[in-house]
Symmetry: C2
Subunit: 298 residues, 2 copies
Amino acid sequence: MKNAIQHIRAFLSVVQTGSFSKAATALNLSPSALTVQIQQLEDWLGVALLERSPRHVGLTSAGQNALLPMEKLLLDLDNIVNAARDIAASRLGVITIAALPSLCAGVLPSVLQTFRQRFPGVEVRLRDVVAQRIDTLVLEREVDFGLGVQARPTHGLTFKAILEDRLCLFTPKNHPLAKRQAVKLSQLAVFPIVLTGRDSSVRDLVERLFADEHLPLSAGLEANYMSTVLALVRQGQGITLLPESADDGRDDLAKVAVDHPAVRRQIGLITRTEQTLAPSVIEFVQLLEALRSPVSVD
Amino acid sequence: MKNAIQHIRAFLSVVQTGSFSKAATALNLSPSALTVQIQQLEDWLGVALLERSPRHVGLTSAGQNALLPMEKLLLDLDNIVNAARDIAASRLGVITIAALPSLCAGVLPSVLQTFRQRFPGVEVRLRDVVAQRIDTLVLEREVDFGLGVQARPTHGLTFKAILEDRLCLFTPKNHPLAKRQAVKLSQLAVFPIVLTGRDSSVRDLVERLFADEHLPLSAGLEANYMSTVLALVRQGQGITLLPESADDGRDDLAKVAVDHPAVRRQIGLITRTEQTLAPSVIEFVQLLEALRSPVSVD
DNA sequence: CGATCTTACGGGATTCGTAAACATA
DNA sequence: TATGTTTACGAATCCCGTAAGATCG
């Protein structure tokens, strides 16, 4: 027996309508085709399920026994199909994301909000981790995708740029560099710099920038959270280089562009190469791409 | 989507083997056919279930979600099929029978015993009721079939003779008729007769016999149970007419044939006309028919 | 380059519908 | 006799297998 579902559906329809011909029209079938299907089903099971006569169609005891389980079977199948369709339509599901802390504090909240109200049934789990941890989480399938900087193109990871990240100089308002339109690295290297944590991607980038230009990186203060770094700058402990979007909106710091090509970084989607994204994930990414605007990274 | 089961089976096979080609050979299918089936399944659900690449086949999140329910679905289907096959093979089931009390005490126990040991999984429920009640029980589908005398051919009942029933005269050993080979109704009508209950089929038959021959039916004792009737005869309260098989094997009564054509009755199977018998019922009836031998009725 | 999945297309089996035959009340 | 189920058979559909194409490691 190949096509059991259709046969069972035919059987149930006959039972419900109490007639082959009515069931046939209900199923958009000819009565003869229905007869054959019931016969095939009975042959397959080895038992007669229906008592047929021109005047009456009734259940045999075997049909009686099979009726409820078969109804349940079709309901179960419907549930499977509907669940799958829900996932397809992003009406339901779970998305897990690993993203850089700066993204989690920057663009993601607003994206998340619009996503939540557009797809209320989809649960989003956000994990804020440093860049290299993103890669491992994606590889180990702990998360559906990552948001961060381009990984070294090893492994089975795929990177797709979505947003551009640019470092800016943050200084107190009364700092000598505060009024400049743009500064060069060599100009700011003479001042004490507040750095982010050693495992952060911003720290990596800053160290690389200074090393490329053979500039000394003055051993100033360090802080893991960007908010802490900014607070230190406000206290006059130094200046700092942070993603543009790290600006928390308070008006007591100056934000100055840095004149160096490498301050720009692509940040984007990190997925396993073989991965096919769930529909809800695709929706999320599209929302993210619609927000192409200057963004920050930790 | 017509043939969901086969598609689901294909999907599960791919997941188990981790490869399209292996699954294809396992299913006795060509890889291309399998591909098409998975595609159709995915089109139907609207979601990708599998991540395909030449090196790796993995589950998408939707596939992950659908996997267990689908496995359960196939198990449920198997259970339905097996249950039906069990019924077909009479390995399982319930038979309910309405039979005359005399049959329940006469032939049925031995038939029941052999049936039980041949089909241990089939439960047999026996109801001993008077003739007319058998008809109503069969008509109301309270029992699978009845065993009794031919009903008046009204309704939707069908009768099929299986056994022959013959009335005999039972007398004490010292009774004047005890030594006869056969007696006529007129000969025994002069003696007081112990009768069975007014609603019993034997009583009906006896009364009809006497009425046909215009013989008086002496108003003797009555008892509902045949064992009581025989006890009364033993005590010398009179003689009686009972089915031949009512003989309980004790040696203190004489059993004399009655010379009258109408002492024979067909007793047999009573079913609804539209009824298709369950396999186990057919088995039971066949056992019954194999026992064609003189039998009794109440 | 090799293994694997996918697409294209011809052949074959299954299934459908029409029409006639059958069964039952 | 009339209604409803079943059988027979021609036609359409669907599905499978072969072979060529595409893809990833």
